[in-house]
């Protein structure tokens, strides 16, 4: 029948157009989700880079006695704005490489007030490796690490007192405080300093 002959192409076209619409929608949804993910990553990266450019840390004083090494770490900002930071502390013999970092226990205080440690899972913490990429701290094989939260309130720079038993530092060259900033419950490195131990290895 002549009509039978006409129905078949209409059905094919309908199925094809439907398939194209479904594929198109799926592709669009995938593109939007990819684009959002990328935008979000770029936004976080920009915020971290922005923060890293603003944070300035320096050693204000270092004091070594027979039993204790005390480091006074100063933190200030290029643009004075109240901010919250976290400190993590390591010792190492390898300058700049994150793979030699070993967690270090210490007593941390700010203006005579003790800062209690807050353990965080290491998959939440991102540090900068030699090539400049952010990698989660779990690459060091640590399940968790103690973080110490403190505030920077302008105009006075923050002063963090780090007291370490010398027994902890035997055979190590550097104490490495790393400053983290919190973005969405993930913690990104914004500053790091290598304090050379004066009394050597």
């Amino acid at each position: 029948m002549r009509l039978d002959k006409g129905i078949s192409p209409v059905l094919s076209v309908t199925v094809l157009i439907g398939a194209v619409i479904i594929l198109g929608m799926s592709f669009m949804a995938y593109s939007i989700s990819l684009s959002n993910a990328q935008s979000s990553e770029v936004r976080i990266r920009n915020m971290v880079v922005d923060e890293a450019a603003k944070v300035v840390i320096y050693i204000e004083k270092e004091d070594t006695t027979q039993s204790t090494t005390t480091i006074y770490l100063g933190l200030t900002k290029v643009i004075p704005e109240t901010s919250k930071y976290y400190l993590i502390l390591f010792k190492t013999n390898e300058y700049q490489s994150i793979y030699g970092l070993i967690p270090l226990s210490a007593t941390i205080s700010q203006i005579q007030q003790n800062i209690p440690p807050q353990p965080k899972t290491s998959s939440q913490i991102y540090v900068v490796e030699t090539a400049g990429n952010y990698v989660p701290l779990k690459v060091l094989g640590l399940p968790s690490i103690d973080t110490y939260m403190f505030w920077y309130i302008p105009p006075n720079s923050s002063l963090i007192k780090i007291e370490i038993s010398n027994n902890e530092l035997v055979n190590f060259k550097y104490v490495v405080p790393i400053i983290l900033v919190d973005f969405g419950n993930e913690y990104y490195e914004v500053a790091r300093i290598y304090c050379i131990l004066r009394w050597g290895q």
């Binding site: 990328q38 920009n46 840390i57 100063g74 290029v78 105009p155 002063l159």
Partner: protein, 382 residues
């Protein structure tokens, strides 16, 4: 053209259209991402480099009791470290670019002299150690090290305008066995007489009436353009410099520089460098004895005198005979048990007291004496 070819052409055109649509979406997305990263990066680079330039342009120097900012950027001092190693957050103190100053005493209530301070911290995170801010003594022969005679820095030598950094009192003044009336320290500076009476000030502001004609002769006794710290004593309502010795009367005075030096318990050697000038009229010679004492607030004291280590030069100048005593007095702490026990048991701030005794060789002599400079340093084991 065959039907097959026409069909292929349509597919290619369709394919190009799809690719174009994809590129139109993806390229702006990538460009947008790159642009936003570049903008953030550029802005941060400019901000940070500007900050670092300003940070490393910061400079402070100490001039007497003033902290001076000679740098081209404004500096805010936000924290000080005292000599006990304690950090003190202070209310921020701004020092304007190109010469802004602040008095040390304005930093914090407990700070009265540079010797109470160890370091200054700025809002940009620079740490200035006080000992590095004190300008060195003007250079002499011997290259760079020529500027550091006897291992001292300029700030450690107290004389001239540096006198005003210290609380100086005359704790004893005796003439012919009787106390002098209202003995006060004085120095001629910038064409004005300054006296220490409840702090430094001009003689006029402190209500001290000096016999200026007589005092003018004793502004700079050895005429080397470096005025000496002298003693004024009151007679009636006027203060005088000179003592007229009759019957070869003795004259002695004792000058105290309060909280002059901080001494640690492991100090091995203390040295006091000083220059004392005496003058007398006529041909009379003054027998002079100089003694240096270090004493703390609990009156624990060690003293040494001038046997041998002070050079003595006597020469005529105008109508006077001038005698200059210059050199050092050593306190070998480690070698002597008494010194060692005092210093090791009572570390901290010590006053420096200089006792000067004068006895003229003949009667009817006008005599006076002054301290041109003094410096005390302490040495520690390596």
């Amino acid at each position: 053209m065959s039907k097959w070819l026409r069909k292929g052409q349509a597919e290619i055109i369709g394919g190009l259209m799809v690719a174009s649509v994809l590129l139109l979406i993806i390229i702006p997305l990538i460009l947008n991402t790159m642009t936003s990263s570049t903008t953030v990066g550029t802005r941060n680079y400019i901000l940070r480099s500007q900050f670092e330039i300003e940070r490393w342009s910061e400079k402070l120097v100490i001039n007497g009791t003033k902290i001076v900012n000679p740098s081209p950027v404004e500096i805010t001092i936000v924290r000080i470290w005292d000599t006990n190693g304690t950090p003190i957050d202070i209310s921020p103190k701004n020092l304007l670019a190109g010469g802004g100053t602040i008095d040390i005493t304005e930093l914090y209530s407990g700070i009265t002299s540079i010797h109470d301070l160890d370091a200054l911290v700025t809002a940009r995170g620079r740490v200035f150690k006080i000992e590095e801010l004190i300008p060195p003594t003007p250079g002499g022969e011997g290259g760079e090290e020529g500027g550091l005679p006897l291992g001292l820095t300029g700030g450690e030598i107290v004389g001239g305008s540096y006198i005003f950094d210290y609380n100086i009192t005359i704790i004893k003044c005796i003439y012919g066995g009787s106390p002098c009336g209202d003995a006060i320290p004085a120095i001629y500076h910038n064409n004005t007489w300054y006296v220490y009476k409840d702090g430094w000030g001009t003689a006029t502001s402190k209500g001290i009436n000096i016999d200026l004609n007589q005092a003018a002769k004793y502004i700079d006794m050895d005429k080397n353009h470096a005025p000496e710290l002298i003693v004024l004593r009151r007679y009636d309502n006027t203060h005088y410099v000179v003592f007229t010795a009759t019957d070869q009367k003795d004259y002695m005075y004792s000058v105290k520089f309060s909280r002059y030096i901080r001494i640690e318990d492991n100090t091995t050697l203390i040295s006091a460098f000083l220059k004392v000038v005496t003058v007398s009229t006529a041909e009379a010679e003054l027998s002079t004895f100089i003694e240096t004492i270090l004493s703390n607030s609990n009156n624990n004291a060690i003293n040494m005198s001038n046997y041998g280590s002070l050079s003595k030069v006597r020469f005529p100048k105008d109508v006077f005979n001038v005698t200059v005593y210059e050199g050092y007095i050593l306190f070998p702490i480690k070698q002597f048990g008494y010194f060692s026990s005092i210093i090791s048991n009572y570390p901290g701030y010590y006053d420096v007291i200089v006792n000067i005794y004068l006895k003229p060789s003949s009667s009817n002599v006008d005599m006076s004496s002054g301290i041109e400079y003094i410096a005390v340093t302490a040495a520690y084991p390596d």
